[in-house]
């Protein structure tokens, strides 16, 4: 199989605060890797580093054998990494369908000028006129189970469903690796089950997944392996059951030191 993503001694400082400290790990091809840790452990920062939202202070990130440490977010995406956000970042004034279509526009990396050209000299210049793209987008909306919101403005959709829309949008970029930042936060128990199914379905299609999650039912149920961050450092790694009973992890969560007691 081999690793699809490797980070080596990754560190991020924000002023005096070290949000991610010397974190090395590998994500295997086809794996679902869970990333857990108490609030403020640096989980989201780690995903931001991998997705190119900002560069690390030290260390390297390798994706499919290529160094992507300094690549910008849009380049990282075109290389095959898509992500969702802890607080959804959908295009609220576009419809659900357009949200997904927007992710397919620049797939051929043609850039703005060729799109400007297209808008004058190509027949099917409007997104919704591109039958093939629409069919793909529709199948993605169906895949995540929000077809009936197809023509709804994304800003008017229920929150739980915008999380699914974000996943559909990410999938439209045909990622090899999907980074999910708390896909289950704010969902009710019934929705949780649906979310687990969805993530497993995505993984079954061959997409590797790195997932941050606080809901234990979700993370224990779907992760092949877990990594635990605490104060920016990796304190445990391994099979979910083993990690779950690791004394260091229990201490981090239940508060073995005075800092975490409140």
């Amino acid at each position: 199989m081999g690793a699809i993503l490797t980070t080596d001694r990754l560190t991020k400082n924000f002023g005096g605060l070290t949000a991610v400290n010397d974190v090395s790990f590998s994500l295997e091809q086809g794996e679902i890797l869970g990333l857990i840790g108490p609030n403020g452990a640096g989980k989201t920062t780690l995903i931001n580093l991998i997705s190119g939202a900002f560069p690390p202070s030290k260390g390297t990130i390798t994706f499919e054998g290529r160094d992507i440490t300094r690549e910008k977010a849009h380049t990282v995406n075109t290389l095959g990494i898509a992500r969702t956000f802890q607080v959804v970042r959908i295009f609220s004034r576009l419809t659900a369908l357009e949200n997904v279509l927007a992710a397919m526009v620049d797939r051929k990396h043609k850039g703005p000028w060729s799109l400007v050209w297209d808008s004058f000299f190509r027949r099917a210049c409007a997104l919704t006129e591109d039958k093939e793209a629409c069919a793909t987008a529709d199948s993605l909306l169906d895949f995540v189970g929000i077809s009936k919101y197809r023509n709804e403005q994304a800003g008017n959709m229920p929150y739980a469903l915008t999380k699914r829309l974000e996943i559909a949008r990410a999938l439209a970029t045909e990622p090899k690796l999907l980074l999910l930042d708390e896909p289950s936060s704010g969902l009710n128990p019934a929705e949780l089950t649906g979310q687990i199914d969805l993530i497993q379905k995505i993984n079954a299609q061959g997409t590797s997944i790195l997932i941050i999650e606080h809901v234990m039912k979700v993370i224990m149920g779907i992760s092949h392996r877990l990594i635990v961050l605490h104060y920016g450092e990796k304190i445990a790694e391994g099979e979910p059951k083993v990690v779950y009973n690791d004394p260091l992890v229990v201490e981090a969560y239940l508060g073995g030191d005075s800092d975490a007691q409140h």
Binding site: S51, A53, K72, A73, H74, T75, N77, T78, A82, R83, F85, R89, I90, F91, S92, R93, L94, E98, N99, L101, A102, A103, V105, D106, R107, H109, G111, P112, W113, L115, V116, D118, S119, F120, C125, A126, L127, D130, R169, A170, A172, T173
Partner: protein
């Protein structure tokens, strides 16, 4: 009646009314106002393309207007280039400046971009003031040639009067409108709207925001330069005053009051404020104060406080209420 048919009908009626207008109103002063309203419509549409659809505040838009006006005027006066080509040459040179300014400036955003663009326009205004050999400084270039007559078979159209220019500007507005509608309705436009709604979200799906902003900045500059050329051959006088900050603020006010990020908004704003400003001009002579600026400022504040979506938003709300009642 289907919505599509109704739309087409509405367009045809509006267009017919606009074409017939000079036949009904013969007043030259009124036609002059109509031409200026058209030129400001193009300026406002182009400014709004950047501000309304990408959220970038360019406060140096008047510079592109001025560049277009000077380019077209100088080319016609010194090389004898046809003013018709000059209009597009003015647009292209403005676009080139837009590209050069946008490349470094669009790394900035918010107030920093605003300050940079103000600086750009001020520098160019000073260049226009001081490069006397080329621009005749603060005197400006007077006697800019009129648009040359068009002859197709027996049909000959000359451009002497305001009403002749009215048709040129009407065609120019329609051309601009067509281009901008095309852009906004296309994949390119959806990408812009995605960026405007959430830039980080757009980046996460592989969109490079700075390259798109640069493209829009350049296109926006093109149409401003185009409008500048129209002005030059209509007013026949080009002076550094065209590049002054207050012109940009007029455009900004028109876009805000009409409705930012819409296509109808800039048209409504430009036409209504051009007419209003002429009405206020006559009051100024009586009152002896610069009442126009006071009214503009007041309107802008009221818009921001009470009608964020501008006149377009107000019309939409009223329409929805009327429909709801019936």
């Amino acid at each position: 009646m289907s919505a599509r048919l109704r739309n087409i009908l509405l367009w045809v009626v509006a267009l017919a009314a606009l074409i017939l207008l000079p036949q009904v109103v013969e007043d030259r002063y009124f036609m002059h106002i109509a031409v200026m309203a058209g030129i400001f419509t193009i300026l406002t549409l182009s400014w709004n393309l950047l501000a309304g659809y990408t959220g970038q505040l360019n406060l140096g838009h008047a510079a592109f207007y001025g560049i277009g006006a000077y380019t077209s005027a100088i080319l016609a006066m010194q090389t004898g280039l046809s003013p018709w080509l000059g209009l597009f040459a003015g647009g292209l040179v403005a676009a080139l400046f837009g590209l050069m300014l946008g490349f470094p400036a669009l790394r900035l955003s918010g107030p920093y971009l605003a300050i940079t663009t103000i600086g750009f326009a001020e520098i160019l205004r000073l260049v226009a003031m001081n490069w006397v050999d080329l621009t005749r400084g603060s005197l400006g270039l007077s006697g800019v040639p009129l648009l040359t007559p068009i002859q197709i078979g027996d049909f000959r159209m000359q451009f002497y009067f305001e009403r002749d220019y009215y048709y040129v500007v009407l065609a120019a507005v329609l051309f601009t409108l067509f281009c901008i509608r095309r852009l906004i309705g296309s994949e390119f436009g959806v990408t812009l709207q995605a960026m405007r709604d959430d830039e980080a979200g757009a980046q996460s799906i592989g969109i490079n925001p700075s390259s798109y902003k640069l493209a829009v900045f350049t296109i926006s500059a093109f149409f401003a330069g185009f409008a500048g050329g129209l002005f030059a051959h209509f007013a026949r006088l080009v002076s550094p005053e065209l590049l002054a900050l207050h012109n940009t603020f007029d455009v900004l006010t028109m876009a805000m009051i009409g409705g930012l990020g819409t296509i109808a908004g800039p048209i409504l704003g430009a036409v209504s404020l051009t007419i209003l400003s002429e009405a206020l001009r006559s009051m100024e002579e009586v009152l002896k104060i610069d009442i126009r600026l006071i009214v503009y400022g007041l309107l802008l504040i009221l818009t921001i406080l009470f009608m964020r979506e501008g006149l377009v938003g107000v019309i939409k709300n009223v329409w929805a209420r009327v429909k709801g009642d019936s």
